[in-house]
Amino acid sequence: MSTTHGLVGAGQPFRVSPPIVVTDDLLARCGGLPPVWADPLALADETEADRVRERRLYVGLAAAIAVVVALWVVRSMLLG
C-alpha cells in the first residue's frame, strides 16, 4: 500500500469494536450455528483466505503472458 508518511492516524492503536456476546436468542436467529462475525479467529481466517486468494493474480499474469507469446509465435510463423 501507499507510503505511511504524513498519514493521519499513523502510529495510533488499531480500532476495536466491543466483543460480540452470543446469546441463545442470537444463536437461534442464526440457525443454531454461531455466525462468523461472532468469532474473531474465524474473521482472521477469512481475511487470511482472501489474502492468499490474491495469489491467483500470478496465474492470471502467467496466462496473459502465455497468450501474448502464443500470438507472437503464430504471427511470426504466418509472416515467415
Binding site: 500500500m1 501507499s2 507510503t3 505511511t4 508518511h5 504524513g6 498519514l7 493521519v8 492516524g9 499513523a10 495510533q12 492503536p13 488499531f14 480500532r15 476495536v16 469494536s17 460480540i20 436467529r29 455466525p35 462468523v36 462475525w37 461472532a38 474473531p40 474473521l43 482472521a44 477469512e46 481475511t47 487470511e48 482472501d50 489474502r51 486468494r53 490474491e54 495469489r55 491467483r56 493474480l57 500470478y58 496465474v59 492470471g60 499474469l61 496466462a63 496473459a64 503472458i65 497468450v67 501474448v68 500470438l71 507472437w72 504471427r75 504466418l78 509472416l79
Partner: protein, 489 residues
C-alpha cells in the same frame, strides 16, 4: 502512393512532427500496460496484513427517488447481511419520491423496527449529493454511527461484503473503503454484457493497481464505506458543485491524509442501463465530472509534494490517459495519414513496427482482466474481444497479419487510409449508434451497430461530448438511471 513532397529539411521536420503525433497515441497504450503490469503485485502489496476484526456501528445511507421497484429487495438483502444486526441501521433518504417509495419504506420499517429509518425531503430533484447530505446531517447529529456506508438503492451486497469492508477500517490510517461492483443482471444481453466487462476491467482489475500505487481515483458510488472521523474531517458533507461527488469525496479523503482501500472480495451487484441512451447519460455525467475534477485539482497533478499518490507520475499518466484518449486517437490518426501522404513506405514501416504493441497490450489486458474474476469474465469474453468493436477487431487482425489478404493499387490505398483514419472515425460513428437507437426503425439495429462500432469508441465519444458540454457550460442535470429490479443473485 508516392512521395508528394521534395526531400528537404522541411520534409524531415514534418516527418518528425508526424511521428511525434503517432507517438502520442502510444501514451495511453503504455499507461494501460503499466497499470495492468502492476495488478499482480496486489498479491503481495495489499492491505490485508493491516486489517483487524472490526465491526463498528454502520449506518447505511441510501438516496432514493422513485425507487419503489428495487428498495424492498435491497433492504431485505441488507438486513440479511452477515453482520451483527444491532450494529447495522439503514437510513433511506427519500428525495420527495412521487411513486410508492414512502409506502414501501413504511412496510420495511414495520418489518425491521429500529433498523430502517425513513428520512424524507419535501423538496427534491437537486441530485444525489443534496439527498445524501440530508441524510448525513441527520446521522452525524447522533453519536451512534461509527462508520457510514453510502450505497445506491438498486445495489445488492453479498452477505459477507460489509464485514470484509469494515476490517480495513481497523487501521486508523484508512478513511474509506470501496467494494467490487459487478453488473448484476441475471441474464445480461448486449450492452449490459459490455458493462459487465467494463466493470471487470475498471473495478476488479484497475482498482487493484490503484491499491498498489497508493492512490484511488474513485470510491464506487454504490459502495463506499467511511469512518466517522473521515467524514467529519472532510466536512461532513458531500460535494455539490460537480457531477462527480464520489471522486471529490475520494480525493478529499486522501488529501486529508487518509488512505482509501479497494476490497476486491466484498462483492456488490448493481443494475446498469440496458439502453444506449441511458448509458450515454450516465457516463456523460461521470465524464463531465472527471473534466470538472481535472480543473478543480489542477494544483495536484504531477506534484508529489501535494500528495505522494494522487500527485505521482503514475496516477497522473493514468488519469490523463483516459481523459485525453480521444485526443490521442485523433493525433495518431492525423500522424499516420500525414506520414502516408508524405512517405507511404515510412508510414507503413512505422505502423508495421508499432502495431503489435497495442495488439499485445489489448490481449494482455483482457486475459488478465478475465483472470481476476473468471466466473464473470467467462460470461463476457466475447464482449472483451469486441470491446473496441468488430470493425476495429478486423482492423487489428489485418494489421497483425499483413499480407494475409493481398491488396494492391487503389484498393490497398483505400484500405490503408481507412485503417489509419478508423481510430478517429469510430468516435462519430459511436455517436451515430446512439442516434440510431433513438429512431423507430433503427432501434432494433442499434445493438448490432454497437457490436460493430464498439463499446470503447462509445466511451471516447462520450468523453468528447463531455468536453463539448463543459466548454459550452451546459446545465449540470442529474439524469437518474431507471431501475427495474433486474439484479439477481
Amino acid at each position: 502512393m508516392t512521395d508528394l513532397l521534395p526531400d528537404t529539411t522541411g520534409e524531415t521536420a514534418l516527418a518528425v512532427f508526424l511521428l511525434l503525433l503517432v507517438a502520442v497515441g502510444a501514451i495511453p497504450v503504455v499507461a494501460g500496460l503499466a497499470q495492468f503490469l502492476v495488478i499482480p503485485l496486489h498479491a503481495v502489496r495489499n492491505h490485508y496484513r493491516e486489517t483487524g476484526p472490526y465491526l463498528p456501528n454502520v449506518a447505511v445511507v441510501i438516496p432514493a427517488w422513485n425507487e419503489a421497484a428495487v428498495l424492498t429487495t435491497s433492504i431485505e438483502r441488507l438486513m440479511g447481511l452477515d453482520y451483527p444486526p444491532d450494529r447495522l441501521r439503514v437510513y433511506v433518504v427519500d428525495d420527495a419520491s412521487t411513486d410508492d417509495t414512502p409506502a414501501v419504506l413504511a412496510r420495511c420499517a414495520e418489518r425491521f423496527p429500529g433498523r430502517v429509518v425513513h428520512l424524507r425531503r419535501e423538496k427534491g430533484g437537486e441530485g444525489k449529493a443534496h439527498t445524501l447530505n440530508h441524510g448525513l446531517r441527520h446521522i452525524l447529529a447522533e453519536d451512534w454511527m461509527e462508520a457510514l456506508l453510502i450505497m445506491d438503492a438498486d445495489v445488492i451486497y453479498e452477505p459477507a461484503s460489509l464485514r470484509k469492508m469494515t476490517r480495513h477500517l481497523a487501521d486508523p490510517t484508512v478513511g474509506a473503503v470501496t467494494a467490487y461492483i459487478r453488473e448484476g443482471s441475471g441474464d445480461p444481453q448486449g450492452i449490459t454484457r459490455f458493462i459487465g466487462f467494463d466493470y471487470l476491467a475498471a473495478q476488479a482489475a484497475s482498482r487493484r493497481a490503484q491499491n498498489v500505487a497508493g492512490a484511488m481515483a474513485c470510491l464506487a458510488g454504490g459502495a463506499q464505506l467511511h469512518s466517522r472521523e473521515n467524514l467529519e474531517a472532510i466536512g461532513g458533507q458531500i460535494d455539490t458543485s460537480s457531477l462527480a461527488e464520489d471522486t471529490v469525496t475520494t480525493f478529499r479523503t486522501q488529501l486529508a491524509g487518509r488512505r482509501v482501500v479497494f476490497e476486491p472480495h466484498a462483492r456488490v451487484l448493481a443494475e446498469e442501463p440496458a439502453g444506449i441512451d441511458a448509458l450515454w447519460k450516465q457516463r456523460l455525467r461521470w465524464a463531465r465530472g472527471n473534466v470538472q475534477i481535472t480543473s478543480m485539482y489542477k494544483h495536484l497533478w504531477f506534484r508529489r509534494s501535494v500528495h505522494p499518490g494522487l500527485g505521482g507520475f503514475f496516477f497522473g499518466i493514468f488519469w490523463f490517459a483516459i481523459l485525453l484518449l480521444p485526443v490521442a486517437m485523433l493525433l495518431t490518426s492525423i500522424g499516420l495519414i500525414g506520414l502516408y501522404l508524405l512517405d507511404s513506405r515510412l508510414a507503413s514501416d512505422v505502423f508495421g513496427a508499432a502495431v503489435f504493441v497495442p495488439i499485445a497490450t489489448f490481449v494482455f489486458m483482457i486475459t488478465l482482466t478475465i483472470s481476476v474474476d473468471p466466473r464473470t469474465g467467462l460470461r463476457v469474453w466475447r464482449e472483451a474481444l469486441l470491446f473496441p468493436g468488430a470493425i476495429s477487431f478486423v482492423v487489428l487482425l489485418a494489421a497483425a497479419f499483413p499480407g494475409v489478404v493481398p491488396l494492391s493499387g487503389t484498393a490497398e490505398t483505400f484500405w490503408t487510409l481507412f485503417v489509419y483514419s478508423w481510430l478517429v472515425l469510430c468516435i462519430p460513428l459511436a455517436y451515430g449508434v446512439r442516434k440510431l437507437e433513438g429512431t423507430r426503425w433503427g432501434r432494433p439495429l442499434a445493438p448490432l451497430a454497437l457490436y460493430l462500432v464498439g463499446f470503447g469508441p462509445m466511451m471516447c465519444a462520450i468523453t468528447v461530448d463531455a468536453y463539448v458540454k463543459e466548454f459550452r457550460g451546459a446545465a449540470m442535470t442529474w439524469d437518474k438511471t431507471e431501475k427495474t429490479g433486474r439484479v439477481t443473485v
